[in-house]
């Protein structure tokens, strides 16, 4: 393992950016409310995601990160509505698609993984069944072929005893294993874009580091892009090339991760950076971020 040894996340994640895969502009999402003007959860949000890169969305809880992601998937909770904006994915304007065409995008071209691995797998079906359902549907594979691919996928995300896991129900797996399964599922139809909404927030520190490492490997594919959502600047710094800082539904700052970390322009960004726990309480801001990155690595002594 690469424990402790820092790469240079502050300047460059070492990735090469390709063409623009996702282009969001002027995105505004509102929720209807009774006897009140609608609640604006996402307000005029715009950013671009190039192939081969990881773009982070960071902000405190309730700042509109998830609703931005859900809007891209066109899966807003009931009452929520995209009131304006454009979302272009691989040249296709998503907001103009018919529902059926959009559904074909989900899972196949754009995959999403959610925060809580304990609740995002169907408790009544085996892992194998859930993984193959998706491939049978999108890739028109038969069950056997899908099962073979599921086996390979689970191996590729570092799951041991693959056949046993395929026959297992979600409750029989640990949180870390489930998140690996969910990631494997998200990759099963080889999507171009992966949206990860707080994928490690519900996991404990050791497991979190392992999952981040896995996502890092996935990000190495130059054809793919990842939108990585987190409220934790430390994790963003570890994972992303560019970052979008959100506050109350608006983007307050955006730019390459290293630049935003070293010279945050907006006071909110500075406050967010200040909120990173500093184990050693060293003087410099950069050092605190490094500490945080250190803390996300496996800590043999801690557990």
């Amino acid at each position: 393992m690469t424990t402790g040894e820092l790469r240079e996340p502050l300047t460059d994640q070492g990735r090469t950016a390709g063409d623009v895969l996702l282009d969001v502009s002027g995105l505004t999402v509102e929720f209807e409310r009774r006897r009140q003007p609608p609640l604006r959860a996402v307000d005029d949000v715009g950013f671009r995601v190039r192939r081969g890169t990881v773009v982070g969305i960071v902000g405190e809880s309730g700042s509109g990160k998830s609703m931005t992601a859900n809007a891209i998937m066109r899966l807003l909770p009931s009452g929520g509505r995209i009131v304006s904006g454009e979302i272009t994915f691989g040249g296709t304007p998503l907001l103009g698609l018919r529902e059926e065409a959009m559904r074909q995008m989900r899972g196949k071209r754009i995959a999403m993984i959610f925060q809580n691995p304990m609740t995002s797998l169907n408790p009544a079906f085996t892992i194998g069944r859930q993984m193959t359902d998706m491939m049978v549907h999108h890739e028109r594979l038969d069950r056997d072929a899908a099962m073979t691919r599921a086996r390979e996928l689970l191996q590729s995300v570092g799951i041991p005893a693959v056949d046993r896991q395929l026959a297992a129900y979600p409750h029989q797996l640990s949180g870390g294993m489930r998140q690996r399964v969910i990631i494997a599922m998200a990759l099963s139809c080889r999507p171009d874009l992966l949206i990860a909404d707080e994928p490690t927030t519900a996991l404990d520190v050791t497991i979190q580091a392992q999952i981040l490492e896995l996502l890092d490997e996935i990000a190495a594919d130059p054809a793919r892009a990842i939108v990585f959502i987190s409220h934790d600047f430390g994790v963003i710094a570890r994972m992303c090339d560019e970052v979008v800082v959100m506050y109350r539904g608006k983007i307050v700052e955006t730019g390459p991760v290293a630049r935003v970390l070293s010279e945050p322009e907006h006071p909110y960004t500075r406050a967010l950076l200040g909120a990173i726990p500093r184990p050693g309480q060293r003087g410099q801001r950069l050092a605190t971020v490094e500490d945080q990155i250190g803390a996300t690595q496996p800590l043999g002594a801690r557990r």
């Binding site: 899972g107 995002s120 079906f125 359902d133 549907h137 129900y169």
Partner: protein
């Protein structure tokens, strides 16, 4: 593992049934007045009454009466009906068969109807269909049987004469399945509507609850078709409470069809119970209540076994 569970549950049901039998037995002791006297009528002499009490075993101490009654009940002897002079067991077997026909008829309506209406309401939440059906189910779940049953009779038996007013068979006709079916429709609908409404409401609420779960959101994000998401991913997880509530309704239906059986002169267990109470036919009442209680225990057991089979956690 399932077999072991069933065995354990069956053993566990024994104290419940003993308790029920004791309550049934004691409740009949609370009936005011002397039963022997009541049965023999006002002209009987004191001597005859005493003799009859002795014949019935009513002069024995209560615990002894109970043990004797229970012992005979365990051997299939529930005593004799005073009013018809038939062995209660024979009478109840007949009644049970008739009740089973009515029960089957109403289940065939109640369960599919309840599930279908509940599902559609959940999927079309807050649409006019949902609002209207939920209003209707609220009324249907609480409507008194005789109001609804008599309403059906007036409409479909008296006004348009599609179905017979009463009974299980047409005494002047040739009988047969079709005749029975024709007689079955109105009572079956009458008994089916309240449970169907209750099941529909339960299906709707558990489906809405399930559809708000994150794995449903995830299934949608994976691009699974809406039909797969609702009918396979969501419904499968909503099943246990639906099985439970349906089981409860099935449990109630046997004894709860009293009014329906009365209105439609359907000679089932409920009708026997009702008439038994009116004529103080103790043995019939005891037997009928016991049958209803055993049925309830069995249905409950079936519900628990099905839910256990549905729960992947139980498979270890």
């Amino acid at each position: 593992m399932l077999a072991g569970y069933v065995a354990r549950r069956l053993v566990g049901a024994i104290p419940v049934l003993l308790g029920v039998s004791l309550v049934v037995f004691l409740a009949m002791q609370l009936v005011p007045g002397d039963i022997a006297k009541a049965l023999l009528g006002p002209l009987a002499t004191q001597e005859t009454v005493e003799e009859f009490r002795h014949y019935l075993g009513l002069d024995r101490p209560l615990p002894e009466q109970y043990v004797n009654w229970l012992w005979r009940a365990l051997h299939g002897d529930l005593g004799r009906s005073f009013s018809s002079n038939m062995p209660v067991t024979d009478l109840l077997v007949d009644r049970l068969r008739n009740s089973a026909i009515l029960l089957a008829g109403s289940l065939v309506i109640a369960i599919p109807l309840g599930i279908a209406v509940g599902l559609i309401s959940a999927i079309r939440r807050d649409t006019p269909f949902d609002r209207v059906t939920m209003g209707a189910t609220l009324i249907a779940a609480n409507i008194p049987t005789f109001v609804f049953g008599l309403g059906l009779v007036i409409l479909f038996a008296v006004q348009v004469k599609w179905f017979p007013v009463q009974g299980m068979v047409d005494l002047r006709g040739e009988g047969g399945r079709f005749d029975l079916l024709k007689h079955l429709v109105l009572p079956a609908v009458t008994t089916a509507i309240p449970p169907a409404a209750i099941i529909a409401r339960m299906v709707r609420s558990t489906m809405l609850e399930t559809m708000s779960q994150e794995y449903i959101k995830a299934a949608r994000a994976n691009g699974l078709p809406e039909r797969t998401v609702t009918l396979r991913y969501a419904l499968r997880n909503a099943l246990p409470p639906i099985v439970t509530i349906s089981g409860l309704q099935i449990g109630f239906l046997l004894g709860g069809a009293v009014f329906t059986e009365y209105i439609f002169a359907w000679p089932g267990v409920g009708d026997a119970l009702y008439k038994g109470i009116l004529s103080r036919d103790i043995a019939v009442v005891q037997g009928a209540v016991l049958v209803v209680a055993v049925w309830f225990v069995l249905v409950n057991l079936a519900v628990d076994v099905i839910n256990l089979a549905l729960d992947p956690r139980a498979r270890g």
